[in-house]
């Protein structure tokens, strides 16, 4: 493959991945607690390119690629639901839930009291209190949560919700169901200024208009790259035909 085709094809491939990420964002524009994904473009330097770089010559093979994705953790809009099991965080921080395979972090506060009396998410994962243990409540009574995260039943405090800040959000990977997994080496600290709002839920932070505009951009870039491939093919064809003419 000639360099133009290879570079353009690499660009096309990355645009399809951008489209995949964009499709997922748009599909989740209505998912509470969802955080939009973006991609980071980078250049792949082939060995030839590095050799050329050392010798101060123009580079031969550097290809655009989507090297990693990053999640945009900006706050989503807080939506009033009036449901006492809905809890939203006003600033940074995550709720911590216990699953069979370890701890998961989430911003989606859809909680309920399970049959065993534990405060849990809709998926049945126990929500942890500030002491790192599941919050045990009386299933026959409704609960209230104060802005500081204190859970009470009939004016008697039962415990505090654990709300943790993560040192760098890059250490979080998505697990589906708006849960995040934290890498084991990452550090957490209790969130200080974050308020807990009962009866509200944090909406998705995807901006559908922005996403649609980006979609058009990706589409046109892809088209341009495809044109580049065609031109490169044409050039190759021309070269062969011209050479053949001279030879004949």
């Amino acid at each position: 493959m000639d360099p133009i085709t290879a570079i353009a094809a690499s660009g096309m491939r990355s645009r399809t991945e951008t489209l995949d990420a964009l499709a997922n964002n748009i599909a989740n524009a209505g998912t509470a607690g969802y955080k939009a994904d973006s991609e980071s473009y980078n250049l792949y330097f082939g060995q030839d390119a590095w050799d050329a770089y050392d010798e101060n010559r123009p580079m031969g093979a550097e290809m655009p690629l989507v090297q990693k994705d990053w999640t945009n953790f900006t706050q989503g809009t807080l939506l009033e639901t009036g449901n006492m099991g809905d809890v939203a965080l006003t600033s940074e921080g995550f709720f911590v839930v216990q699953t069979a395979s370890g701890l998961l972090y989430t911003r989606t506060g859809h909680f309920r009291i399970g049959k065993s009396g534990k405060l849990e998410t809709l998926d049945g994962y126990a929500v942890l209190g500030s002491n790192g243990k599941a919050l045990q409540l009386d299933p026959t009574k409704p609960f209230t949560i104060s802005p500081s995260g204190q859970v009470s039943q009939e004016n008697a405090a039962v415990g505090n919700l654990q709300i943790l800040n993560v040192d760098t959000v890059d250490n979080l990977t998505k697990r589906g169901g708006t849960y995040f997994m934290l890498s084991p080496t990452a550090k957490t600290s209790p969130a200080k200024d974050t308020q807990v709002m009962q009866g509200k839920i944090e909406g998705s932070n995807v901006e559908p208009t922005q996403a649609t505009v980006k979609l058009v951009g990706v589409l046109r870039q892809f088209e341009a790259l495809q044109k580049a491939v065609r031109i490169a093919t044409e050039m190759g064809k021309e070269a062969v035909e011209q050479v053949a003419k001279v030879g004949g």
Binding site: D20, A23, A29, F45, Q47, Q67, G85, T140, G177, T178
Partner: protein, 263 residues
């Protein structure tokens, strides 16, 4: 690109569910005692894409993983138990619960169901029944010749008989509540039954220590559907559907472009 097609497809399905739910809410905007539902969504699993070449270059920075999500799914549509408006009817058997709680209704199969719709009537035996003829539990019986039936805020039902001055008590209405009413199971006809998610009912007198609401006679609780809010939801849902369909179109166009490369 096939990934983007299915991802956007899942988003369209999710928004369809949302519109179905909005349609049901709007259809019941005049149903007394109706409680709206709100659809909730979750993101699906993530696919880890290995990037060929990214880690092989000697001078390239360590590549973090590339995760691509595979769309959205409707996860739940919970019932929102906000209070509906009170509508004055002056019918002595129309009751509203001011606050939390449910009337307990005996279904024909003997099981208890729960409702916020307090439009009762005495049947031919004088028992208070719902519009479907299901009895209120514990039963309240009012003799046919009773006059001026009064139902107090604490649920005490009293009446006077012709020629008597002293009022007689027919019983006290008991209410039930749940730890998580949003997790109740809708039976239709404004009836709910408990589930594992809702927890077991706590029964008590209206206005009692259990935190149950009080009863108001001569009113009906309107549906808590906010038509304006539902229309806003409908518009956002429609736009989200549109955005997803645009993605399908974009993926299709990109696919076409690929096919044209080798024309």
């Amino acid at each position: 690109m096939i990934r983007a097609l299915y991802t956007a497809g899942s988003g369209m399905t999710a928004q369809q569910t949302n519109v179905d739910n909005i349609a049901n809410n709007l259809a019941n905007s005049n149903t007394a005692g109706f409680k709206m539902r709100r659809a909730q969504f979750q993101d699906l699993l993530y696919q880890n894409v290995s990037q060929p070449g990214a880690a092989s270059g000697s001078q390239t920075t360590a590549a973090a993983g590339l995760q691509l999500g595979l769309g959205a799914k409707p996860s739940a549509n919970e019932i929102i138990f906000t209070q509906g408006d009170f509508q004055q009817t002056n019918n002595p058997y129309d009751l509203v619960i001011q606050g939390a709680g449910f009337f307990q209704i005996q279904q024909p199969n003997g099981q208890i169901a729960y409702t916020r719709a307090g439009a009762f009537q005495p049947d031919r035996n004088g028992n208070l029944v719902t519009q479907d003829g299901n009895q209120l539990t514990p039963p309240i019986t009012i003799p046919p010749q009773a006059q001026s039936v009064t139902i107090a805020a604490d649920g005490t039902v009293s009446f006077t008989l012709p020629g008597q001055t002293a009022a007689q008590t027919a019983g006290q209405i008991q209410l039930a509540n749940f730890a998580n009413p949003g997790g109740l199971n809708s039976l239709g006809k404004n009836l709910f039954t408990p589930t594992d998610a809702s927890g077991d009912p706590t029964v008590g007198p209206p206005g009692g220590q259990e935190g149950l609401g009080t009863i108001q006679q001569g009113y009906l609780e309107s549906s808590n559907v906010n038509v304006v809010e539902e229309f806003i939801n409908l518009i956002t849902s429609q736009r989200a559907y549109e955005a997803n369909s645009k993605v399908v179109k974009a993926a299709d166009e990109m696919y076409q472009q690929v096919n044209q490369v080798v024309s």
